[in-house]
């Protein structure tokens, strides 16, 4: 004779009464793997945020938020390089949201003077003042290309721009900042 199936509350209202309804999504990596990933990625990410925004306090906040969002996101496992790219993408979006928030304007419409004041405050090197005169979008592209070494396709993935337009934008930005750097260098040489 067949045993009758036990009549549990859980079988009547599955997940609810048993408390299993609170199915928390699994993070993309376990805590040890995350600690390693954080160790390797936190510094480059902070450098990117700090240099592009020109605000170290903002870079702190956005870096933490980027990592938390990264852990909350469901994404396919594609290795650390892809994970880092995804992290930079989150940070780029957070940065864009931050710039849009106070003035409800497009990132392209914001003037570089808005960023120059805060950017030049703690950047005593040659690149700092030159970077402060660039548009935020140009800073992002230049940093991703020349500091992080990303390809045009990877930059497109991080910024959400079309790959075809990256080449032209980057070419213009590079030409502009190279001129600024040369001016800075010649000014420094003239100083006693």
């Amino acid at each position: 004779m067949k045993e009758p199936l036990p009549m549990h509350r859980e079988s009547v209202l599955p997940n609810v009464l048993a408390g299993d309804a609170l199915r928390v999504e699994e993070p993309p990596m376990d805590s040890d793997a995350f600690a390693g990933f954080y160790e390797r990625s936190a510094r480059p990410l902070w450098a990117y945020l700090a240099r592009v925004s020109g605000d170290t306090a903002l870079a702190d906040d956005l870096m933490q938020e980027s990592f938390v969002r990264f852990l909350c996101a469901q994404q396919p496992e594609e290795g650390e390089v892809a994970d880092r790219r995804y992290l930079f993408r989150i940070a780029t979006n957070l940065l864009r949201d931050h710039w849009r928030r106070p003035r409800t304007a497009s990132i392209e419409e914001l003037s570089e003077e808005l960023f120059a004041a805060s950017a030049s405050s703690d950047q005593a090197d040659v690149l700092g003042p030159a970077l402060a005169l660039m548009r935020p979008r140009e800073r992002q592209l230049l940093w991703l290309a020349y500091a992080e070494g990303y390809t045009h396709r990877e930059i497109a993935e991080v910024t959400g721009l079309a790959t075809a337009s990256i080449r032209l934008l980057l070419f213009r930005a590079r030409h502009k900042i190279a001129n600024l750097l040369r001016e800075q260098n010649s000014t420094l040489r003239r100083q006693p």
Binding site: L13, P14, N15, V16, A21, L22, R23, V24, E25, P27, S31, F34, A35, Y38, E39, A42, R43, P44, W46, A47, A50, R51, D60, Q64, F67, V68, L71, C72, D125, V126, L127, G128, A130, L131, L142, W143, Y146, A147, E148, G149, R167, L168, F171, R172, R174, H175, I177, A178, L181, R182
Partner: protein
């Protein structure tokens, strides 16, 4: 601005990427870079950014990853709570609408067929259990006048409908 690039740019970019510029660079290439505007721009910009990156990375205030892990876990849990709250709310609204519909329907029905049960209620304190028997008998004999059966039946129906909607939403 004309988008023109030098044929040596890839070679220079590769040396810069490997950190071999200018130490491991051939003298001819170095001479070319100093003469070529495009390659000169590339070398100047890339070295400036790489230096800035290492300086900024060294100054980065690194906090414990455990705190971020905990914050993410808390956020995931809150998201899960919010997710299960949605079907429950939907089921509650559905059950409420069903109940309102039943009440309105009952009131309309009673208005059309006379309020006999109100008279029974008014006489209740005077006669006690005798009236309950009468009501029960008349309910069984006359299916048209059946608030005693109708109300609990419809309430059960509404409750079950709510549970069914909840389970369907939860599965989705």
């Amino acid at each position: 601005m004309i988008l023109s690039s030098c044929s040596h740019e890839k070679e220079v970019a590769e040396l810069l990427r490997r950190g071999q510029w200018p130490a491991a660079c051939a003298p001819e290439l170095r001479a070319h870079v100093s003469a070529c505007r495009s390659c000169g721009d590339l070398a100047l910009v890339a070295t400036s950014f790489q230096r800035a990156r290492s300086e900024a990375a060294g100054a980065a205030p690194i906090k414990s990853p455990g705190t971020l892990w905990w914050r993410a876990q808390l956020r995931r849990r809150n998201a899960a709570v919010e997710r299960i709250g949605k079907p429950i709310l939907g089921a509650q609204i559905f059950a409420l609408l069903i109940n309102l519909f039943v009440v309105v329907g009952l009131l309309v029905y009673q208005a059309q067929h006379g309020l006999g049960w109100l008279i029974w209620l008014a006489q209740l304190p005077q006669a006690g259990t005798q009236h309950i028997d009468k009501l029960w008998t008349s309910t069984l004999l006359n299916p048209g006048w059946s608030p005693l059966v109708l109300i609990p039946a419809l309430a059960t129906l509404a409750l079950l409908a709510g549970v069914v909607v909840y389970l369907a939403s939860d599965r989705q």
